[in-house]
Symmetry: C2
């Protein structure tokens, strides 16, 4: 496989034109869109208009005249088709952590008599912490976290489990769990299922409705490119909505929020999962970013993601000296999300050396390098050059330079 | 009192120069800064830099290089002096509703054996709803909301009350409660106190530390001018921090967030009140907005607020035909926040007619008009012209025009 082969792949890429809808820095190959998505060009005029015209000029009247009040619902409806949800089941609000608390409490209340929340040891920590927070609040007679290995989930599904809480794609390894099968098996045991879509939404097709998922949460700042710390979303299957109430009762979730009545009465629909006033600036950024998806076929996104990964792995495997990098992501495409993770004892320094050369990947302690694949703005040639940089760093042991030593990193 | 007198007040106003630090629309008098603060000019370059350079160009590395990770703490420290809090007690995150849930659960856990949360019937509804949410979650044997009139608070302080939850300034009437006295009386009965500063922070001096307040929450989008739905803040007195844990355990509140360990271990300090990843865009806007306060003396803000209100009331009282407007705010300045509310059976239509003439006040069902006074950008001449417009609307019964009829409004 040579550069000409690679360039041919880019020429045939049906998504290649999408790259122009992002502002990517010069001399940079960005392989960290699984952590923070790149900037869609449409965001800049939108945020300028939001600040200068909507806030600055129209001030408070914009809640109606610019429809700020409907942003949580309208953004939810933009996300819905990306995750296989029919209308009126997705809403945008708060952070993924806070939303997880809401659906966790709602799910536990829907499954009385059972107390166990089953999850994986290697789930993203916030998910596990939120269960621990519920336990601390309600007591271990109401909520108990049980953590198992990803390979052992099925055998732990039994009738003491109230809720199965899974992240579809492992944030470290990129392993993709089988949503349909696991949801079905959980339901067979009377267990409700919450899926965390942090590393899935915008990465590949998701079918919440057809998998009969009960609840889901997801974030706006990774593959959805909604900006750092973008508002999150949550999904509640239509059939559950009227039966469940979440505990973070804020005025925006009230059936008549502008009555300002002292007693809470939940909205009849998904809006009951809203709490307080959301950041209109943050929501508007995400709203603009989501317009990138209007003409995108997620099947093509998935196909390109797999092709990018195959090229990456093929190029790595072609160089003997890169065999010190151990792939921890599944080799089989159908078991993988849209990232590749490699283990190396010098992972941290290698990652810094790559960043120094303009290849942004990320490090996860103690020894992983993650390469995120974002088909809307990553080209096959990006992958080619990335592997060449990696080759130079590893082959010449550039990672031994003392300067490649100090940084923090955020999911 | 004539226009020359009014203009003399503006000429003597030590805060008059601050108006240039805001972008106010032409031909508009904005008396709704108690609902959504005006746009500080410093926000525009900051948000453009945040989006284009920090996010667009530096991407994920900005969490360190642009110090995104410290925004919650750094913004908290900017707010602290505005509310009379020594360092390390204030943090910026989430919405005021969500933060209220955190401190409410923390306060209840600090006062075991007691179950009652005492509040006022006329508190801002989200505050009351959050207590109802905790009751729904924990059961009424753990948390019960008791609502009383503002004038009856003291007589209901007894040893079955766990937490006194008060908003310092009533969102409808603008009545200001006595923080020092009520906190002291509650403490005398072993009650912990939470103050909601939504309509206080940035409106006048607040002394949380010297009043020995236990917890407080507040919002960034009113007198702090942080933009629509700006992130909120919370205060936890230093002495309580190590003893209390809030239940929304997110990864940012962990003592070692980048270890991504499966078991939660709270940060030793105020950071344990963080949950998930905050919106960096929203936080940056608020951060830029707060720089307006660097050279502001809140005593002067309070003096001007009172003077603006006195002028407003004096002008209203000078016109017989305006006597149909009934003041519901306290006449005594020391019992009032930074707004005036008037009752009129045509309040809604009067409010619309004023907006039509470029005077932005707001309506609260069923019959109140609120005039917010924001000394940083409201002049005495603004008040003069506002009352003249009000006079024309009421005197000529312009509010009877059918077009002044349809709108929603947000706190």
């Amino acid at each position: 496989m040579n550069l000409t082969d690679i360039q041919a792949l880019d020429q045939q890429d049906p998504l290649a034109y999408k790259r122009d809808e992002f502002d990517l820095p010069p001399n940079c190959i960005y392989l960290d869109g699984n952590s923070l998505g790149a900037l869609p060009t449409a965001v800049k005029p939108r945020v300028a208009d939001l600040v200068t015209q909507q806030w600055g000029n129209s001030l408070i009247t914009s809640w109606n005249s610019h429809n700020w009040i409907d942003l949580p619902v309208n953004i939810g409806e933009k996300i819905a088709p990306l995750i296989g949800a029919a209308p009126q089941q997705v809403i945008c609000c708060d952070s993924i952590s806070v939303n997880l608390f809401k659906v966790l409490c709602a799910a536990l209340a829907l499954n009385p008599g059972r107390t166990q929340v089953l999850s994986t040891q290697d789930n993203f920590p916030t998910d596990l912490y939120m269960v621990q927070g519920v336990t601390e609040l309600l007591g271990s007679d109401k909520c108990q976290l049980k953590m198992v290995q990803e390979t052992q989930i099925t055998e732990h599904l039994n009738d003491s489990v109230a809720v199965l809480l899974l992240t579809q794609v492992n944030f470290r390894t990129g392993r993709l769990l089988d949503m349909k099968q696991l949801t079905q098996r959980a339901h067979d045991k009377g267990i409700l299922v919450i899926w965390d879509l942090a590393h899935s939404a915008g990465a590949f097709p998701i079918e919440l409705d057809s998998c009969e998922v009960d609840f889901a949460v997801g974030c706006g700042y990774k593959y959805l490119n909604g900006g750092p710390g973008a508002p999150a979303f949550l999904y509640v299957a239509k059939g559950h909505q009227s039966a469940c109430v979440q505990p973070l009762l804020g005025w925006m979730g009230h059936s008549k929020p502008f009555d300002f009545a002292p007693l809470y009465q939940p909205a009849a629909d998904i809006k009951r999962f809203l709490s307080g006033t959301p950041s209109v600036v943050a929501m508007s950024v995400l709203d603009a970013a989501l317009d990138v998806w209007t003409d995108v076929n997620l099947v093509q996104v998935r196909e390109k993601s797999i092709a990018l990964a195959e090229v990456f792995m093929t190029l790595i495997n072609a160089h003997d000296c890169l065999h010190t990098l151990q792939l921890v992501s599944p080799i089989a495409a159908e078991q993988r999300g849209s990232q590749l993770a490699y283990r190396h004892e010098q992972a941290f320094a290698i990652c810094q050396a790559l960043i120094d050369r303009g290849v942004i990947a990320d490090f996860r302690a103690p020894d992983l390098i993650r390469f995120g694949l974002t088909p809307l703005y990553t080209s096959f040639e990006d992958i080619w050059h990335s592997v060449n940089h990696l080759l130079e760093v590893v082959n010449n042991k550039l990672f031994l330079e003392p300067r490649f030593n100090q940084i923090l990193k955020v999911t």
